[in-house]
Symmetry: C2
Subunit: 578 residues, 2 copies
């Protein structure tokens, strides 16, 4: 007996299956997933862990009438396979047809674009409130887990959802893991619940007013279906706590949960990655931090659940010892704990992916900046060469951070400058400092780093025209200057370095220029270029602000985007030579 | 026997007192507080509730060696009285010498500027980590309560703090209240703990790894001192749960906890406010929302714990019924629940104080804006006439919100326009909309509102010079134009209305002007003026961007600030007539 996966067009195609058939189906879905992921890469462990839970969900509930909200939504691959998108998982030519997250543009079964953690309960309470006011009867289900329950927003909503007093089903996928280890006592409590088969009298969910159901065999269809049938159409708030295995069915992923949370293409037998990247800015960061930690016992490196995203692997974490902290996926706590450490006399550095820094705006402003606490935030995956999922763009950090008073924001353009900026940030005690990691491939400088980062650096002296390119866009500025030079036009090229304020002295030297072109590696709005335009607005030169449109793009091609926004070197040269 | 309060210079002055003396002291502190607050206004209920707890804290612990972090810090008045600032509470001439929050500029006993909720546990874990790495032995105490425990960041940190494995004392001031009622099941759980005298087997703090101590008589010095002595110098994470009475000792405040959370000057006998304000923009908002709710059963108004700050009083809340939601002080949950409600087909409006909207940047961006969900956020206490505590400034919202893609941000200039903008936001289904409430006194318009808010409104047609004034700054533009008119110079005056993008057509009509002046009612950086400067940068006119410096000011005088930044009408006129 075999299931023809290509025939699975919608959840209705599995409703008539026997449990035995569903088990067969689950096995085939898992095999197809492993085959695709080994070639294509993706979130391996999270999806392998929830094959059965997703099959059971769609078997018991009636999506899209019943509304399922996937937290983070990086574990929605099986959901996609069951909701009309199987082709993108069984036909290698079509692997790129789906994104790695839920997307309403792809399917009516996907309710939201989601890529950040801890949002599902709030989104689902909104849906439940809409249902209740409009007299609906559908089930509303938030599917959370893989450490996103520890995020503050999830906890806020966990606290509020039972107040609705109506159907609300929280499926907690407890795979005992975060991206790295789980951090926070909540996870110790979940272990207590697992160890007592859900019977511990101490139960945070019951304390918060939920009915509670524990499924010890969270990869067993029979148990899952029984539990979901039990809670279907409830008129209360219920938690269904599933004990699942991350990476289930792929031995290398079961054994190595952190590495296989997300992986590029890999050998399914050995787990070895298919490609080995060269040295990256993350290596520069990780090595710099390890040196700083070993040089100075007051230096502490903090991450909010993503040490791997900053290259700080397990051996480095072990060497850093108590000078390394992982607070779990809790960016707010991480940033404000950084403020507390600075006040207490430490020299804290927090590493954070650009898009996730968004989750701690108020902590940056109210805790670090108002208190002007010397601390360093290093921001990864920035700019046009950063992540390109619509929920993970690195295009907005300058607009967000650089307009907060007291914070000095710096943008690096090569490895040596990057290291020097981090070291400067740690050494100084005047201000909070944010360092933007360059996008694009690693560049080295053969010149001594000029460490007066509060001033613009003039790389070439020309006349009449100047190009100021921030971060990775400095290369575009330099290449445009090369093109112009061939045409006999010598232009000034500036690496601004500091992007939270303008270097007035440097700009005053451009007063009699004809045109100044700024290039933001991110959106123009709220960026450094607009500061330059405002400063020069009542002086001589015309100013043209290049950078990206203020829009959310998905799965974009960097070169096309640069071209669409007139940011390619030849376009910049033409603008000046027009 | 009497205590001479003026002799209390530091906590050491109370260390030798007997319990009877401390009780006498508490009574006198409370009487002085009531006397000052009735004349001066301030956070009445929160401070009256913690007189004894604060005395006991300073009696048992040794600040500033022992480090006390006050959450929100609006309940730190008694702490200020005991730490060298008694004069500001007993001498009416000196009432203004202290701010309403902790402030390191005022005293070494104050560790942080704090005004937003839910930060204390994270700050204190940072201090504890700094202590542990540097071999210190002091106690670290986070003093939280008055509903701030339900904020996501507090919950993140609550989850993490026991991981430190060292001394960490969390004093939970449970006064059974938020600013309005408490919302969220956590508060039902606290009631369960109170009702069982702390003995319930279900205990969220124990679940998270804390030792736990319950003090039923949280306004009784003997019980408080005993509890604090018991936990002093602990090497674990401990929660001391105090059952206190908000407003204790002032009958009108005990009876009317919401009104006396914060109050202007009042009659201490009757509780009647000394001044009755006239109609305000909050009335316009509240009345508009009540009308919309009564007109359309899909309209829902949501607040994150501050219904009073948007004029939505109890009678209005009762009339709104299920179409009003208070999620408690949980802005992240509130914004993302708004996204969920919009997806579910409702027409949600969230009202939020400008400075607190900062707490939900990612929710605005990732949940509302990426998903482009039609919903309305109305932003209060904005601009130079907004709140003027350093932690509550309304000067940064435009830079924060208007640079997020998809969000349309509008700034109103009078009551009729404001109401029309809110109604437009609710009626349209294209975009998320943020409406900025005007600062300053209520203005009415005698003209019909032009509701094409996506376009600039030309109020006066002149030539060569244009002034574009946003929000309350439109008045400065109009008054500058009056001054110039007297000198024979007719200038164009524009009310931009939309501030998240420029009206290119309107600006193109200014191509041949000599100078365009923009006035942001907030900081220049990241504001609408810089967008105008960037757009006109390679066209004809010089552009001058007026607005506030990017800095944190405290207790500022609006007129002085406007003068310092060249924003007064006569200064603007002089700039143009120079």
């Amino acid at each position: 007996m075999q299931i023809d996966l290509s025939k699975i067009k919608s959840p209705s195609d599995i409703k008539e299956m026997s449990i035995d058939q569903l088990e067969l189906l689950s096995g085939e879905l898992r095999a197809a997933l492993i085959k695709k992921l080994a070639v294509h890469g993706g979130h391996v462990g999270p999806n392998l862990g929830v094959v059965e839970a997703t099959v059971a969900l769609h078997y018991v509930f009636n999506a899209p009438t019943d509304e399922i909200v996937f937290d983070v939504s990086h574990q929605s691959y099986v959901h996609k396979m069951l909701t009309g998108r199987i082709g993108a998982f069984i036909d290698p030519a079509r692997y790129d047809e789906v994104t790695g997250y839920t997307s309403p543009d792809e399917s009516k079964y996907d309710l939201f674009e989601v890529g950040h953690t801890s949002t599902s309960i709030s989104l689902a309470t909104g849906l439940a409130k809409a249902r209740d006011l409009q007299g609906g009867k559908q089930n509303v289900i938030a599917f959370i887990g893989d450490a996103s329950l520890g995020g503050g927003m999830a906890l806020e909503a966990l606290n509020y959802a039972p107040c609705l007093g109506s159907n609300f089903i929280l499926v907690l996928n407890d795979n005992q893991m975060s991206i790295a280890e789980n951090h926070g006592e909540l996870y110790a409590h979940l272990k207590e619940l697992r160890d007592t088969d859900g019977q511990s009298p101490n139960n945070i969910f019951k304390a918060l007013g939920y009915e509670y159901l524990y499924v010890a065999e969270g990869n067993d269809l029979r148990h899952l279906i029984k539990a979901f049938e039990e809670v279907k159409d409830t008129d209360k708030a219920v938690v269904v706590h599933l004990n699942t295995m991350k990476g289930k069915g792929l031995p290398v992923a079961e054994a190595n949960k952190e590495a296989f949370h997300y992986s590029g293409p890999f050998n399914a037998e050995t787990g070895a990655p298919e490609y080995q990247g060269g040295e990256s800015y993350l290596d520069i960061f990780a090595n710099t931090m390890l040196s700083l930690i070993e040089e100075n016992d007051k230096v502490v490196l903090l991450t909010a659940g993503t040490p791997g995203a900053m290259g700080f692997d397990k051996p480095r974490r072990e060497r850093a010892g108590k000078q390394f902290i992982d607070v779990g996926i809790a960016e707010q706590d991480g940033v404000t704990m950084t403020a507390g450490m600075a006040k207490g006399g430490l020299r804290p550095v927090m590493g954070v992916v650009s898009t996730f820094l968004q989750r701690a705006y108020d902590q940056l402003s109210h805790d670090i900046a108002v208190n002007n606490l010397p601390s360093v935030i290093v921001d990864f995956y920035c700019g046009v060469y950063g992540m390109n999922d619509v929920t993970h763009l690195g295009l907005f950090d300058v607009a967000m951070v650089s307009n907060i008073p007291n914070i000095k924001m710096f943008s690096a353009t090569n490895a040596e400058e990057y290291e020097a900026m981090i070291r400067m940030g740690v050494a100084q005690t005047e201000s909070p400092v944010v360092v933007r990691t360059p996008g694009g491939r690693l560049l080295h400088s053969d010149r001594k780093v000029d460490t007066d980062f509060y001033r613009y650096e003039i790389l070439r002296e020309g006349k009449d025209f100047a190009i100021i390119g921030e971060g990775a866009m400095l290369q575009n500025a330099l290449q445009a200057a090369d093109i112009l030079k061939e045409k006999g036009v010598e232009v000034t090229v500036i690496n601004p370095r500091i992007i939270s304020e303008v270097d007035k002295e440097a700009l005053d030297r451009l007063r009699d220029y004809k045109r100044v072109v700024t290039i933001d590696d991110g959106i123009v709005d709220g960026g450094f270029g607009q500061k330059v335009a405002a400063y020069l607005g009542d002086k001589g030169p015309k100013v043209t602000c290049l950078g990206l449109q203020k829009e959310f793009m998905d799965k974009y091609d960097a070169k096309s985007v640069l071209r669409d926004n007139g940011m390619l070197p030849e376009q910049i040269a033409a603008l000046i030579h027009e």
